[in-house]
């Protein structure tokens, strides 16, 4: 399936909240009920339900069929599309920044040489030169 911009937008909006990311992390270990999901947070069940609705609308989670428990389950596909996009962006910039590391190293070497040359000029000449 081709990723759509709007679907990704909903995914990123859903992922922007730390509570929702924690819920997803919990669901990555297996399905869980609303009560189970609310347990680790200092939040009311309705507040957790609100977060679950956002995650559901983004297609990140679904509800199980069991009438009583309605356990929530992680849907891996939208998450994979979002992280794939970030991963590509990250790779391009990592390559740029590795080249920038090399440029900075060269600037530091040049600066060190200039400082060394300056110090060589001002310091009193030793009787014996160790090098040269």
């Amino acid at each position: 399936m081709k990723p759509s911009g709007y679907a990704l937008d909903a995914t990123f909006a859903a992922l922007a909240d730390p509570t929702r990311r924690a819920i997803l992390a919990r669901l990555a270990d297996g399905e869980a009920t609303v009560t189970e999901l609310a347990a680790p947070f200092a939040m009311s069940q309705p507040a957790i339900s609100k977060h679950l609705k956002v995650l559901e609308r983004a297609g990140l989670i679904t509800r199980g069929r069991e009438a009583q428990r309605r356990p929530r389950k992680l849907e891996p596909r939208p998450l994979a599309e979002a992280t794939d996009w970030i991963e590509r962006y990250r790779r391009i910039w990592e390559a740029n920044f590795k080249r920038l590391d090399a440029v900075l190293q060269e600037l530091k070497n040049k600066q060190k040489k200039a400082v060394d040359a300056l110090l060589e000029d001002v310091k009193p000449k030793p009787k014996k030169r160790r090098f040269k």
Partner: protein, 159 residues
Amino acid sequence: MTRPAALQVTTPTDRELMMTRVFDAPPGMVFDALTTPDLMKRWLLGPPGWTMPVCEVDLRVGGKYRYVWQNADGRKMGMGGTFKEIVRPSRIVATEMYEDYWTGGETLVTTELVETRGKTTLRTTVRYASREARDAAIQMGATKGLEASYDRLEELLQA
């Protein structure tokens, strides 16, 4: 974090993208490497095979910049914008807009440099102007045609 230099990419809000990276150099030096055309042409290149034949930077508030990248087939990609804030060596705010296929609008890019014991943490926040611009960016990133380039990049990174 096991590697202090590792690049972090996060999405703090639905319209922002944030990159954080530590460089082993003082902020003034990093600032210069980010804003001096002769130095930028050596690292700001993107996928393998691309060069940066045009890099013009008028580094003052209200000043403009323009970059053009070119690949081996002669394909070109241009981008430009205006500087809104410049505080050497700690902060740059500039607008950014791609010239051809990116019609979604401008982004606002905030670059912050923070020194810690001689090293510099570089934080770049890209703020999309509208939902449409954000969608355009995501659609572009999802384009399958770019995959060959990324595969080559993968090889390079593993080499």
